[in-house]
Subunit: 196 residues, 4 copies
Amino acid sequence: MRRKSGDKERSIAEAAVKVFARDGYHGAKITDIAEVAGVATGSVYLYFHNKESILHHLFTQLWKGMNGALAELLARNDLGAREKVEELIDTIFGLFAPNPSLALLFVNEQPQLLREGSGEFMHYYIEFLRMGEQVVRQGIAAGEFDASVDARLFTNYVFGAIRQVLHQWARAPRQFPLAAVRKEVRHITLHGLLPR
Amino acid sequence: MRRKSGDKERSIAEAAVKVFARDGYHGAKITDIAEVAGVATGSVYLYFHNKESILHHLFTQLWKGMNGALAELLARNDLGAREKVEELIDTIFGLFAPNPSLALLFVNEQPQLLREGSGEFMHYYIEFLRMGEQVVRQGIAAGEFDASVDARLFTNYVFGAIRQVLHQWARAPRQFPLAAVRKEVRHITLHGLLPR
Amino acid sequence: MRRKSGDKERSIAEAAVKVFARDGYHGAKITDIAEVAGVATGSVYLYFHNKESILHHLFTQLWKGMNGALAELLARNDLGAREKVEELIDTIFGLFAPNPSLALLFVNEQPQLLREGSGEFMHYYIEFLRMGEQVVRQGIAAGEFDASVDARLFTNYVFGAIRQVLHQWARAPRQFPLAAVRKEVRHITLHGLLPR
Amino acid sequence: MRRKSGDKERSIAEAAVKVFARDGYHGAKITDIAEVAGVATGSVYLYFHNKESILHHLFTQLWKGMNGALAELLARNDLGAREKVEELIDTIFGLFAPNPSLALLFVNEQPQLLREGSGEFMHYYIEFLRMGEQVVRQGIAAGEFDASVDARLFTNYVFGAIRQVLHQWARAPRQFPLAAVRKEVRHITLHGLLPR
DNA sequence: GATGAATGAGCCTTCATTCAT
DNA sequence: GATGAATGAAGGCTCATTCAT
């Protein structure tokens, strides 16, 4: 059985993750991506409109996934707000765990993409944050969370924290074992630095 | 003859902050930096060896400042660990407050620079994190902080959180008034999400 | 797909000979070479690493040819030393005859290249001179040549003489018809200025 | 006593000889010449119109000297044609002997200058060759030289030969001691390669 | 006159994108 | 669809020249 053409698109996308992570978006050459993907340079343009659209495709995929996971979580009635937060942290880590390159890409290039402020992924990103805020608000309303916390700011705060920690892990997976990191993050997020 | 003026170097550096923040390092053109600085293109090269060295200069300055502030804080005997943490957060915000562009530059380009893993600023950056850890450890030893916290991870966590929050502020200073943000960050960092 | 054609490399090389001869190496613009070659600017870099390597390529080719011709000559048993010298002079002229631009390039740029003292062509150049000396020494040993002549110096002397004469010819082929020049050079080289 | 301003012009010219010889005309930077001359960059332009004119000045001086020496020689009645040729060779070597850099400059840059075909020095250069031819013709007429020699070509031939030999000497004065070289050149020029 | 900082035109080179095969 | 050679726009950097001091 021959590979379907969808496979080629996927292999280009996967190659792009690696090369973008390794060389940075601007340092990455289309030719290198094609080589890693095992296709000809020109073939990249059969599946993607241009270099930028590859990056956007990756971020759209990524944020669609994060968004979907959070949406699912939000809908569950069997979990309290705190459990949802814990679950969300686990989900995010789980999403990146198999692919450190993806984490590096995510950490390194997201700021640049935000500068432009456009792209399909923005939709998912913004909604993701909004849903995050909602969880916090629900928790506050239910008395589970500290009422003095600003939901929007807190969401950003945690989001940035997790990104940095993911970055450390992706750069040196041995020094920062993911299981430990994940647990620690949950704890800090919930309890802060002061002792109970 | 005309004397080489420190003013000109500074104005180029300041222009670079603006243009790098606006267009990103790779999108920034030396010609634009020169224009914003009010000098000729070639003059940039009287003060900086090349484009990259401008960026490194800015980050070195930045981290020297952060590092110095933290070193000073660390040396003070009149403050407890918690007060030091609070003070540090204030200091960082204070450092960026007058210059949102600097915050954007800092957030956008630092990941790229870390990928290379070299540069004078790295020294200050690494020591900065190390000193951060030390404050946390002192606090734990003094019983001020939760002993179950991992100092290194926590420092990274907070660092990432602050970066993200700064980013939000720099992109929309009105929506995220700095004073409020700063206070909130102190609170979350210390108490976490759960109510006391 | 389009196949990388040896023709294109050759046409770039030939264009480079013309443009280098006309404008000098430093005055020559890659864009002009590409234009003369009938290719796009960027195509030059598909076949050559950079401007300098084009020049080196040309000189390597040139000296490989000169070297090969002399090596062949040296190996022949059917010729005496005097005949070899005569033949060599003819060969050199024959090599440049179809291409005055090549002679100009050779005369104008060789000194600059020697200043650097590196490059693949140096190997062939040095060996060429060494073989020239050897012919002279053989002639002396066989009693064909004046024993008081210093082989090394003589080789350089004649080499310089021929270069200058070639230069004159290349600048004004009409005024210095090659056949006459060639004959005259043979005569002077062997007999000098004084009458027999 | 203060240095006269003529000194400054001379020191720039001398510096230019060194720097041009070392780096080549195109590789030489005005700033470097100024530095070697011990003056400010801008001062160079008080004495020379531009970079090219420095080179032309040097070559004009050089050829004026060569020209003058030959003119003097030509006018002497006490010497035969052969003695004049010998004397001329000695004169040329004598002119460069104290300054190898000048010889390098002369050898390396003359071809480039001839490409342009203009400049005051051309006048002296052409007349120099013409006088050289005249000596040869006088010698032929007097029965001192081989009548079958073409005066013009011979002059060029010898000129090129001497240039190359000078080049070798200037690059490695030890390996090619000037006195020996000079004597050898006289011999070859007069007698050629064949034994008497 | 002297200085050297400032200028800006110019060119080599890269690489995203195209297109003949 | 697939290929990879070909394209050419764009920009970092140099350095001869100028000019304010």
